[in-house]
């Protein structure tokens, strides 16, 4: 630890309590994380009334405290990540060694891990929607080597939402939840470098927000980053310098596609896209909660959905040709807990039954 410029950081009960809290909660919005810090301090004060916490019980105090936690956890290749996703700042306990999904969701069976991976792939390759409908998500079971019952897939999806690996919108569309964005960003950037976009403002992974639509420009922005630029006196696109007051950006994420996409059926995928009914603009009104503040003109929506239809069919053929298993790269060398089961005689029975299709390489 001395190497990191923290010569004498020693863990106190306050650190231990907070680390245990992080282990059980994994991902918290910042307001909850601050409240947990306050409660951790109270717990210590209750047993040691003369305890004086080193940091204030507010946002900046928590930030400093979390830095200490990260230093303490470095030894075991974990750290705390703090970053804005959607409307909130999130605090997430991350593994540095785990670039891949398998290491995180350790109680999932190999089949379940493959299912999650497949759903993630469907989400990423649905660009610019960056989300899949419920039916589409469930349909991913068809890609698996062993069968997964529909009801099992439904349970699993809702568990993944609760564990914050996936988010489900009011429209019933699945996208990546903040925890997944913060914990899996390396994996996503490496595995899907052709799909994922980085925000031009903050350089972080972005799956929901807006894209500049001036000429050939394709600069992507998180909604909160875009709003920040728009708040400046002369808002300009970081890439093409276009005046953002003049340009209507296009939506990225769920807002990029109309509601008729939400009732996806497998047949629909093959059929020619039905011509658009009116009312897409209406639909987009309720979508603002997912953070795309961009209100699109109706004709723009039409133009946009057409181009999106093209890019979708493009990405579909791409996903067939190269986004299949062979394209997925293996993660870094890690301690992969899913190999543990092999030794275990009293583990979940279904662990053995499903052949491990996740062994890639």
């Amino acid at each position: 630890m001395a190497a990191n410029g923290h010569p004498a950081l020693r863990a106190t009960d306050l650190h231990r309590i907070y680390i245990q809290s992080l282990l059980s909660r994994r991902a918290m919005t910042e307001d909850v994380a601050i409240e947990m810090y306050r409660r951790a301090v109270s717990a210590v004060l209750h047993t040691h009334p003369d305890f004086v916490p080193a940091h204030q019980r507010n946002r900046s105090g928590l930030k400093d405290f979390l830095d200490e936690i990260s230093v303490l956890l470095e030894e075991v290749s974990m750290y705390v990540r703090r970053g804005q996703e959607g409307k909130h700042i999130w605090v997430v306990l991350c593994n540095t060694e785990a670039g891949d999904i398998a290491q995180h969701a350790t109680d999932l069976t190999p089949l379940e891990i493959t299912f999650y991976r497949t759903v993630v792939e469907a989400i990423i390759t649905s660009y610019p929607a960056n989300s899949v409908s419920t039916a589409e998500a469930l349909h991913q079971t068809a890609e698996l080597e062993s069968t997964m019952k529909r009801s099992d897939a439904e349970h699993l999806l809702s568990a993944l939402v609760s564990r914050q690996w996936l988010a489900k919108s009011k429209r019933g569309r699945y996208s990546l939840a903040p925890r997944a964005m913060l914990e899996l960003d390396h994996y996503l950037k490496e595995t899907y470098e052709d799909y994922v976009q980085k925000c031009k403002q903050c350089e972080r992974l972005m799956l929901s927000g807006v894209a500049c639509d001036a000429g050939d420009c394709d600069a992507h922005y998180h909604t909160h980053c875009y709003d920040k630029i728009k708040g400046s006196p002369r808002p300009k696109c970081r890439q093409c310098q276009a005046d953002l007051n003049e340009i209507q950006p296009r939506a990225i994420g769920e807002g990029a596609i109309g509601r008729n996409e939400d009732t996806w059926t497998n047949a629909q995928r093959k059929r020619k896209r039905p011509s658009r009914a009116n009312g897409n603009g209406r639909d987009d009104d309720d979508d603002e909660e997912d953070g795309n503040g961009a209100s699109l003109e109706e004709e723009e929506v039409d133009r946009f959905t057409q181009s999106q239809a093209q890019s979708q069919s493009q990405s579909q053929s791409q996903s067939q040709s190269q986004a299949g298993p062979s394209r997925r790269r293996s993660g870094r060398e890690t301690l992969v807990p899913d190999s543990i089961d092999d030794d275990d005689d009293d583990h979940d029975d279904h662990d053995d039954e499903s052949a491990p299709p996740r062994r890639r390489r």
């Binding site: 630890m1 009960d13 907070y18 909660r25 409660r39 047993t47 470095e74 030894e75 540095t96 568990a159």
Partner: protein
């Protein structure tokens, strides 16, 4: 990115490991332990050897000690070896357990952190009796247990609603999340990926463990189910508690008993039937009693039966003495008495002094 070579220190530690190597291997053991605990699955020594120490099986002790050090100092946890599965007569087991307890309290002055050293020391004691010897052979199965003070652990599990954002906030989804959150530092339903992670299931488990304890530490299958039926729980009752993090469907009582056996909360013993052919099934506590002890169970039962803040503390209680004469005592006195009696009843029901830390 892995950053493991920080000390650059190549001191030998006798095991042929440089200090940096030992540190990085120990870190992997720590991670392995955390992953296993999330599944409520004991970590086996052979798993550590195979996954972490492949090239250096003889460095187990060095690496394990180092991992314990990190777990205790950074996480406030430690790996505890599970005892072997119970064999033989229950009364004999209880006597052995009480003996262990007596020895432990002898060395209690030692720091909590020295627990396992203490056990090592015990192992060296020459007068150890035979049944204890057997237990000490060790299962080489470990679970994680908190080393924080019991008051802290209790405070961390206390639910308290989270404050709502000032001005109400406009994000309905977020408000719904806040409302769902128990507000306790440890969110049990998040820290356990198995069906037993649901708070309701934890309640059912505790009740079952208490019943087994009160049935003399060993409950005949029929006996246990007769009692559970009085709680409206039959073998195929679907227990409707599923944590949102859980991926499985609700379990039936029978399936849940099996899961608790797998998770080492219970032990299911087949005993020869003394009166007829075949065998009978007996339920006992599993080795996870290292996590939830008999004394903790007693404290739980006391909390249910004796309400600390019983209404109207002014009013005296009329009690009838053994001589049939009625007299008045203060409520506090009544509670103290009740607790004493309850404790005696529990010990009688269990068939011996209760063991373990609260």
């Amino acid at each position: 990115m892995p950053r493991r070579d920080d000390d650059g220190d190549s001191d030998q530690e006798g095991s042929g490991l440089s200090r940096a190597d030992a540190k990085s291997l120990a870190a992997q053991v720590v991670r392995l332990a955390l992953f296993h605990e999330y599944r409520r699955q004991p970590l086996k020594r052979e798993v550590i050897v195979k996954t972490v120490l492949a090239q250096k099986p003889r460095s187990f002790d060095t690496v394990f000690e180092r991992a314990q050090k990190t777990l205790r100092s950074t996480f406030g946890m430690e790996l505890v070896e599970l005892r072997a599965k119970q064999k033989g007569d229950v009364a004999e087991m209880a006597a052995a357990a009480a003996e262990t307890q007596r020895r432990k309290s002898k060395g209690k002055k030692r720091a909590r952190q020295g627990d396992d050293e203490e056990e090592d020391a015990e192992e060296d004691e020459e007068d150890a009796d035979a049944s204890k010897e057997k237990r000490k052979a060790g299962t080489k199965n470990y679970i994680l247990r908190s080393t924080l003070a019991p008051e802290l652990v209790a405070a961390m599990a206390t639910p308290r609603p989270l404050p709502f954002p000032q001005g109400g906030g406009d994000d309905e989804e977020h408000l719904a999340e806040l409302e769902k959150d128990s507000g306790s530092l440890i969110r049990w339903e998040k820290g356990d990926g198995t069906p037993s992670g649901a708070i309701g299931m934890l309640g059912v488990r505790t009740v079952i463990l208490c019943l087994v304890l009160c049935l003399g530490r060993s409950a005949n299958d029929d006996q246990l189910h007769a009692l559970l039926r009085r709680l409206n729980l039959t073998r195929d009752t679907v227990l409707p508690y599923v944590s949102e993090d859980g991926k499985e469907e609700p379990l039936t009582l029978d399936k849940y008993l099996d899961l608790l056996t797998k998770q080492h909360y219970l032990e299911k013993a087949k005993m020869p039937n003394p009166t007829a052919e075949g065998h009978i099934i007996e339920w006992r506590w599993g080795s996870r009693e290292a996590e939830f002890s008999e004394n903790a169970a007693a404290a739980f039962i006391e909390r249910i039966f004796i309400n600390e803040d019983e209404s109207d503390p002014e009013e005296d209680v009329v009690e009838e003495g053994p001589d049939g004469v009625q007299r008045r005592i203060t409520p506090a006195e009544a509670r103290r008495k009740k607790r004493r009696t309850l404790r005696q009843d529990l010990e009688r029901a269990a068939g011996g002094a209760l063991t373990g830390q609260v």
